[in-house]
């Protein structure tokens, strides 16, 4: 069976103006227990790549610049 691309709205948002991933920071990507954050090759900033979030918050708590916001996933909001 062929695959489709079904859109999903992800709970974690990164403020690209604040993110310093391009300066070598990878903290949020490092700490996420579900390993769902990545640094974008395009923008050099962190973003949520996979919608598999436990809304646990280490990414936000440990981010040095306050760039990460964890929202409640829509399905349970």
């Amino acid at each position: 069976m062929p695959l489709a691309n079904t859109a999903t709205s992800v709970p974690v948002v990164v403020d690209e103006d604040k993110c310093i991933a391009d300066k070598g920071c990878t903290v949020c990507v490092d700490v996420c227990p579900l390993d769902v954050l990545r640094i974008s090759d395009l923008t050099g900033k962190a973003y949520m790549k996979y919608d598999e979030c436990w809304y646990c918050m280490p990414c936000e708590a440990d981010c040095p610049t306050g760039a990460v916001t964890v929202n409640i996933p829509y399905l349970l909001k």
Binding site: E52, P58, L76
Partner: protein, 578 residues
């Protein structure tokens, strides 16, 4: 990142610890501390800095046995009764004796427990008999403090490696494990003289009512590999039919925290504002009462704090919204609910395996030894009942110390090289397909079936249907699942564990032909508890490639329990509403 690369490396160590959440770091620390010359590897699927149930800390210790507040004898008695008598007391008693020392050690690590103005531990009374609850006001630093100790002890830490199978030697002894990197798909074989499994609960077994796969009560990284790996290695697993089910905040799926709100006067109420829980201890019986109320006309069920002084309610809110599950505040903001004003709707969680809250786990003795020589288990995946966080720490310590001694006495065990090639093939199979079913769909289907058929009340016919449906899904998984990058490969590998756990949950439940542990094992076709035939463990294991169960006697009690004590407890009970 995430592109699949081929590769296989091999490393050696004296003791391998799999899972760096709560029990794992403590096991690694204690092993190195006891033998600084030994090599100790801590393997973690995520990153030890923030992995596991306590990733953002904990509200407190639920079961601290502290001199002056409770005794090991009293604690052992309460756990035995709360677990309906199915309890090898030696391990519980040993925990109760050791845990105070562990608290003091954690305190020295910089982990803060609530103290009164004289610096004494501020233990709270929640249960009728002993006082066991010790809050942790700045619990969010727990993992950082542990991590610091591991760095100082020079434990070798391997992050982002997911163990997939254990290796056993020709004599049946533990020989190591195979792991796959979650960002590259490369394999790592770790030869070890002793292996300690600390992979946490099987948290992705049932599906949360929200339908969000990762909105589980347990840390969603805990997908049950520990249980599946132990099974495939031939270890015995105890009382898997004693499910974990917890009372939670509806939809948010985070704990509603009787242990936090209780000491301040908060409680669980029905829609008539009344308390309804008779049972004193968090147990299957309590969950039965919860379930009964939910399904009766008196539901829904609420967390009630709005009778307390506004300052008190706000104080509780502040605690609950900063540690453990800190997004809770955001959830309530979104819903417009305030603890000081509103009752907070609660619900029951999806099912899982977890000895931390109930009793389902790999069968271990008081030294954390499994039934396989050289293989240990501690924390939520080991069979010591009602263990919680302090149990994970304490028994992790026991396992680390015993394993490092064991490793000093033995040499590496040879394992079958073909097992590694076969395991690589099993894991990588989904990457070999061009087209097929992605793991998230297979996972959803398994977990939806678990909800439809395995969630209590347990009905024999429904269980049988489930078994045959799961067998169909297994065929799809084996023949059609695809993984397009290393991350998806991790999910695909997890799906296999989830399916194994679902099969084990069904099999063990059908074997025990009675009802026990309240809601956890409420079998509609066998509604009574049967002390004569079933006051025993049920051990599940792999025999000649297939699942098998056996009865196993309970160790004679070391702390006897008088009949009237048992009766006092059972008299409080409300029967299931069949």
């Amino acid at each position: 990142m995430d592109d699949i690369r081929s590769g296989l490396s091999e490393v050696e160590c004296d003791v391998l610890i799999i899972g760096g959440g709560t029990a794992g770091p403590m096991a690694a620390y204690k092993a190195r501390k006891k033998n600084p010359d030994a090599t100790v590897i801590l393997l973690e699927k995520a990153n030890v800095k923030r992995s596991g149930a306590i990733s953002m800390g904990m509200d407190g210790l639920n079961n601290a046995v502290i001199p002056g507040h409770s005794t090991p004898e009293q604690y052992t008695k309460e756990i035995t009764i709360a677990n309906d008598g199915i309890c090898d007391q030696a391990a519980v008693y040993k925990y109760a004796q050791n845990c105070y020392g562990i608290i003091q050690e954690l305190d020295q690590f910089g982990i803060r427990f609530q103290k009164d103005e004289n610096g004494e531990y501020d233990v709270k009374k929640v249960h009728h008999m002993g006082a066991y609850v010790l809050p942790m006001p700045n619990g969010e630093t727990v993992k950082k403090a542990l991590y610091r100790q591991l760095r100082r002890m020079r434990v070798l830490i391997s992050n982002r490696f997911m163990a997939t199978r254990l290796l056993t030697g020709k004599s049946g002894r533990a020989a190591g494990a195979i792991a796959v990197n979650t960002r590259s798909g490369e394999f790592l074989v770790i030869k070890a003289k002793a292996v300690i499994m600390c992979m946490g609960a099987a948290g992705r077994l049932g599906l949360p009512t929200s339908g969000y796969l990762f909105g589980t009560y347990e840390n969603a990284a805990n997908s049950g590999e520990g249980y599946a790996m132990a099974y495939h290695a031939g270890a015995k697993l105890a009382n898997l039919e004693c499910f974990q089910i917890n009372p939670l905040i509806k939809d948010y799926n985070g704990p509603a925290c009787a242990y936090v709100a209780g000491p301040f006067g908060g409680y669980t109420a029905n829609s008539q504002n009344e308390r309804f829980i008779e049972c004193d201890y968090w147990s299957g019986q309590m969950m039965q009462e919860f379930y009964n109320e939910l399904t009766s006309g008196k539901g829904p069920v609420y967390l009630k704090l709005n009778h307390l002084h506004e300052d008190t309610a706000n104080h509780i809110e502040q605690i609950l919204h900063t540690v453990e599950r800190p997004t809770r505040g955001r959830f309530h903001d979104g819903r417009g609910t305030r603890y000081a004003r509103d009752m907070i709707e609660m619900h029951i969680s999806e099912i899982g395996f977890c000895s931390g809250h109930s009793a389902s786990g790999v069968y271990v003795d008081e030294f954390a030894r499994t039934t396989i020589p050289g293989l240990y288990a501690a924390g939520d995946m080991a069979s010591v009942p009602h263990n919680y966080m302090l149990g994970a720490f304490t028994n992790g310590a026991v396992a680390g110390e015993d394993a490092i001694d064991f490793a000093a006495q033995v040499d590496f065990e040879d394992y079958d090289g073909e097992a590694i090639a076969a395991e690589q093939e099993r894991v990588l199979a989904p990457t070999r397909r061009e087209d097929g079913i992605p793991p998230n769909q297979i996972e959803y289907k398994i977990r939806r079936l678990v909800n439809d058929y395995l969630q209590p009340p347990k009905v024999t016919k429904k269980y049988e249907i489930c078994q045959s449906r799961l067998a169909e899904v297994r065929e799809d998984m084996q023949n059609a699942m695809i993984a397009r990058d290393a991350h998806e490969l991790m999910r695909a590998t997890e799906v296999a564990s989830i399916l194994d756990c679902a099969d084990m949950a069904a099999f063990a439940s059908l074997f025990r032909q009675e009802s026990r542990w309240g809601l956890y094992h409420w079998r509609v076709d066998h509604p009574e508890r049967n002390e004569e035939q079933w006051k025993c463990h049920v051990l599940l294991s792999k025999q000649d490639g297939a699942m098998a169960c056996e009865k196993h006697p309970i160790q004679p009690y070391i702390i006897p329990i008088a009949d009237d004590e048992k009766d006092a407890y059972y008299n409080q009970r409300i029967q299931a509403q069949a």
